[in-house]
Symmetry: C2
Amino acid sequence: MRVKPTDLDIAFAGSPVDRADRLRTDASALEALKGPQARLLLLDGLAPRLDGQGALAWGSLADAEPGAEIVFLGLMDGAACFAQVAPALWQGGAKGPRNMFPLLSALSPGDMATFGGAKALVDWHARHRFCARCGSPTELAKGGWQRNCTSPACKAEHFPRVDPVTIMLVELAGAPEPTVLLGRQPMFPPLNYSALAGFVEPGETIEEAVAREIEEEAGVRARDVSYVVSQPWPFVSSLMIGCHAWADSPEITIDRNELDDARWFTRTEVARAMDGDADAALKLPPRFAIAHQLLRWWLARG
Amino acid sequence: MRVKPTDLDIAFAGSPVDRADRLRTDASALEALKGPQARLLLLDGLAPRLDGQGALAWGSLADAEPGAEIVFLGLMDGAACFAQVAPALWQGGAKGPRNMFPLLSALSPGDMATFGGAKALVDWHARHRFCARCGSPTELAKGGWQRNCTSPACKAEHFPRVDPVTIMLVELAGAPEPTVLLGRQPMFPPLNYSALAGFVEPGETIEEAVAREIEEEAGVRARDVSYVVSQPWPFVSSLMIGCHAWADSPEITIDRNELDDARWFTRTEVARAMDGDADAALKLPPRFAIAHQLLRWWLARG
């Protein structure tokens, strides 16, 4: 049975918050939304805080820390939703769990998406206190969807950054059984393999970036790149662009600066790993990673 | 006859320069490449300079201006290719043609791509002299594919920025003739229409960004978004992600802050414009714009 890309469980997508973009530029409307009904997303450092039911915890704007910047996330259930950029986030004193993934796994898909979008935006503000052009301090604008340089001589406008990243399943043409190229980074737990990935650089199409990454990391020439599915990834703030490509030769030359290993795996091996078989030849990335969903799509491809 | 996305003429793609990414981190290899054989891309401000044959003009590293930063573009025909970030570019004194598009139209596809990638990278260096995190000066690293904060207390690493932008053809389901939604910005010349477009924001998939833009700019609800083709766009440094989507209702509500007009056009009307008919109902974007290529693909869709 085929799995359509739209049937995949793409984590961090599908937030119920309406971004209400038109309100960002309407200063008086935005101010009017900051009443007692307004909701403030509560964070521990950059990690989500959960309520008693395992959902995202929300407070009111009265819970914001002194000196915090307030960003407008959008509207949900008739209420305006905000998040704060707490001073500790840019002063280096922010505390939060070292690994927030166990917390994220507990969230509903909608909450995960709302958190992911807010985290990426708040994090951007915390890391962009100054103008990259002239070095002067910047200040929040347009409800948190812009920062402006405070130097009258510069006045540069800065926008939240999203880094496009290609991530790809390379399939070996003519193999007796469908066979896919996966790699492992040195930091991965033992036996863990995932799809190869890399940032899109200036001057590249998606398809060119896919081919370059595969060649660089594994010495494999890819052809016929096709887009499958995308995912926002808030660590730090990427747009993961999931693709499929074909390779004609099984020969691999691993770039040891990037990868610990890269290997071809058969559908049988990947399927066993997907089923959680303890004796499987590899371990897969968790389900909220787009690589996991790409492999689900590939297994069902028939 | 169908036009496959791979048959389209995607401008700024397909540079013959091999990025040779492995050399960026190899300081001694990079130094060794900076000999008399090395080629320096010559620019007027941020515009290309042409040689007598209408090709990109190249000099040697001896042509670099005093104080310029040198970025490594890659290898071509056995020679190392560089570009310079001239001090005038960040000091505000850079001179170049106001409109470089006539110049670009003269270039071969490969030269256009080489120029586009170099322009986006050089421009990024010129606009990122300081650390966005702490405001200290930054310095070029890894052959120009990174900038590092010079403050020992910060040491933040910064990477060339690429902004993902969705650009979409929205087609009206159930129309008697294939019909597409196009809009015009106030700055467009009279009668010029193009595909709607907008930046992907943190927390969105490509498909969500497409649907949001169409809703925001034209009040049209889109479904079944599919990816068609992508393009690097060096003004400033975007990754254009070309998509198709369907709409079920012809009703349009124009966001006058964004658009001067948005209308449905039939295939006949678009085909006449594509043929350069002076009496056509609209004028199309130039062929090096992805919107033009998306419309070519759509016309041939059958």
